[in-house]
């Protein structure tokens, strides 16, 4: 019984730490390689060479946001810990938890990406400032 508890607690800690680490590092890596990602969709050159512009982020000081993803993953892990899939509808619960996990991963990744600080500026703040300009142009 005790071994079962330890296993569940370890799994919860693993989900919390692993999930947080994955989304925070993933967001930081995406911004770091934004130029390379854009190169998959755009061609280099022109007056505004977006690939060259965002390739400058390779040398940027990037601080990933981890607090909100940590809280979200901790809440998900607590659900798993206290309400593990069991009983006659175990398969349904597993499917629900899997879907919830995927959604959580996407949501926390988006949060981490938007709240990531690049050269002391939050990515979300940059988008906020950029949107009206793009609209007016």
């Amino acid at each position: 019984m005790q071994t079962q508890h330890i296993k569940r607690i370890s799994a919860s800690v693993g989900i919390t730490a692993g999930g947080t680490l994955a989304v925070a590092l993933g967001a930081a890596l995406a911004l770091h390689n934004l130029g390379g990602i854009l190169a998959l969709f755009l061609e280099s050159g022109g007056e505004l060479d977006f690939i060259a512009i965002f390739s400058q982020l390779e040398g940027a000081r990037i601080s990933p946001h981890w607090l909100l993803p940590l809280l979200l993953f901790a809440a998900f892990a607590a659900l798993l810990l206290f309400f593990p899939p069991k009983g006659s509808k175990k398969a349904l619960w597993i499917a629900l938890y899997t879907c919830g996990g995927v959604v959580l991963l996407l949501v926390s990744y988006t949060i981490s990406l938007l709240l990531c600080r690049v050269n002391d500026v939050r990515f979300l703040d940059l988008l906020r400032a950029l949107i009206p300009v793009i609209g007016s142009l």
């Binding site: 007056e47 060479d49 400058q56 982020l57 050269n119 500026v121 703040d125 940059l126 950029l130 142009l137």
Partner: protein, 458 residues
């Protein structure tokens, strides 16, 4: 246990206090029997085998230098009255961000401890024929700085500072002025500018030593104009060379209130860039050598510094900060972008002359008060006068480059693309300067900081 806790508590209080003491002093005053000054000047070498291009700064984006008229220099003046000294470093370049100034200060930390240097202040002469030192003249939205050149610039500033300290000697400091005839023009109304050229001339007691001249003139250093792609210090360098040749004195050029946009006239027809620079320098040199109204300054020195958080409204500057092109520190604030830019303003009193070390290109009307309108801050000359300042000189682009500092009553933004496209008045007047400014609130912040810096001096 109790003793350990008290010990830890004491450490917590003492360590930050000691760290604060180790930083630059933000106020200082001293007086002695004589002035003590020294001068150093070092050429800024062009990087060899650098993969990054060398873009010319000031006019068009993405243009590389094609040759060299004269290399940019870092010149330094050491000033003291027998105790702690002040360093004034002038770099022949378009402007320097606060991050570059901090890098120079960090390199001089040990030097400052050894020499009792109270404060290091770095300004740009604002030559528009130098290599991009702000990063704004590369291809669109790409950093135009050459990092090897920036390193050479910092090295040269450090060497010039050390040379200035080694060169120091006692003497008398004189203040005087002259008015070069019909040389300046203002491209934006109200057409207000200071036509005078001011000189702080240090005459060593030891006649075998060279004199030092700090020259203040409110003009953009762009007599070579926008088509030029040859590297040069422009007329500030030519004037310093001419003064050296004529008198043996070393000279440093300090830009005054150059905003909005004060520059020298074209003196050749048809226009010849190099000849125009030569003629401009000749007129200025003649004016300097004609100065007869000199008065000796009493050997008292005072310095104060005020840190500011400037609201960053300019979205373009904000993108540049995100991309790492601008290196100023930022913090969350109440501006259009949601961020404030960290900057600083200092005041340096040399006897009866007060230098305002201005972190940008201030419009002259914000200094003189002529042509100001509703909602504009109290002019700096009035703030200075209220506090007993006799002679106020502006040293523009010092310790930072916030761009143009514009009176709020004359601030007009393009409605569709503010800070990206320029606005045009019904009269046809262009408001280009706003696109190179941090925001409408900067002028008031500067006036407040100047008043606070003078208050600190007591």
């Amino acid at each position: 246990m109790k003793k350990t806790l008290i010990f830890l508590l004491a450490l917590c209080i003492l360590i930050p206090a000691l760290a604060a003491c180790a930083q630059d002093k933000d106020t200082y005053a001293s007086g002695g029997d004589a002035w003590c000054m020294g001068f150093g000047s070092i050429e800024i070498a062009l990087p060899k085998d650098s993969e990054q291009p060398l873009y010319i700064a000031g006019y068009h984006a993405g243009r590389e230098i094609t040759g060299v008229l004269d290399l940019q220099r870092a010149s330094a003046a050491w000033i003291d009255t027998g105790k702690g000294g002040i360093l004034l470093i002038g770099i022949d370049c378009v402007g320097l961000g606060n991050d570059t100034v901090t890098a120079i200060r960090n390199r001089l930390k040990d030097f400052c401890k050894q020499t009792d240097c109270v404060s290091v202040n770095v300004y740009a002469t604002h030559t528009h024929a130098g290599i991009d030192t702000l990063g704004l003249w590369g291809p669109a939205a790409q950093d135009g700085k050459n990092h090897a050149f920036m390193q050479n610039l910092i090295d040269a500033a450090v060497l010039a500072a050390q040379a200035a300290y080694d060169d120091r000697t006692e003497g008398t400091l004189y203040f005087g002025s002259a008015m070069p005839q019909d040389l300046l023009y203002d491209s934006r109304s109200p057409h207000e500018y200071d036509p005078n050229l001011y000189q702080l001339r240090f005459a060593p007691h030891d006649k075998a030593q060279n004199g030092i001249r700090l020259l203040s003139y409110a003009s953009h250093a762009e007599s070579l104009r926008g088509a030029n792609t040859l590297l040069s210090r422009d007329f500030p360098g030519a004037v310093a060379d001419a003064i050296k040749a004529d008198t043996g004195d070393d000279a440093m050029f300090m830009p005054g209130a150059v905003g909005g946009l004060i520059m020298t006239r074209e003196l050749t027809e048809p226009f010849d860039a190099v000849e125009n620079m030569r003629k401009t320098a000749e007129i200025l040199t003649d004016a300097i050598l004609s100065i007869e109204n000199e008065t000796a300054l009493s050997p008292t020195l005072a310095y104060s510094r005020v840190d500011m958080e400037i609201p960053l409204d300019n979205t373009l500057f904000f993108y540049y900060k995100f991309l790492g092109i601008l290196g100023n520190e930022v913090s969350r604030g109440d501006s259009m972008t949601g961020y404030d830019l960290h900057s600083e303003l200092s005041v340096l009193q040399l006897g009866e002359v007060t230098l305002c070390l201005m972190p940008g290109e201030i419009f002259p009307e914000l200094v003189s008060g002529k042509g100001l309108g509703k909602g504009d801050p109290t002019p700096l000359s009035e703030i200075a006068k209220d506090r007993g300042v006799q002679n106020l000189l502006i040293v523009g682009l010092c310790n930072d480059e916030l761009g143009y500092i514009i009176p709020p009553s004359n601030y007009l933004l393009n409605e569709k693309a503010p800070y990206i496209d320029t606005a045009t008045e019904a009269t046809g007047e262009n408001h280009y300067e706003e696109t190179n400014s941090t925001g409408i609130a900067t002028a008031q912040m500067i006036a407040d900081a100047f008043a606070a810096a003078l208050e600190k001096l007591g």
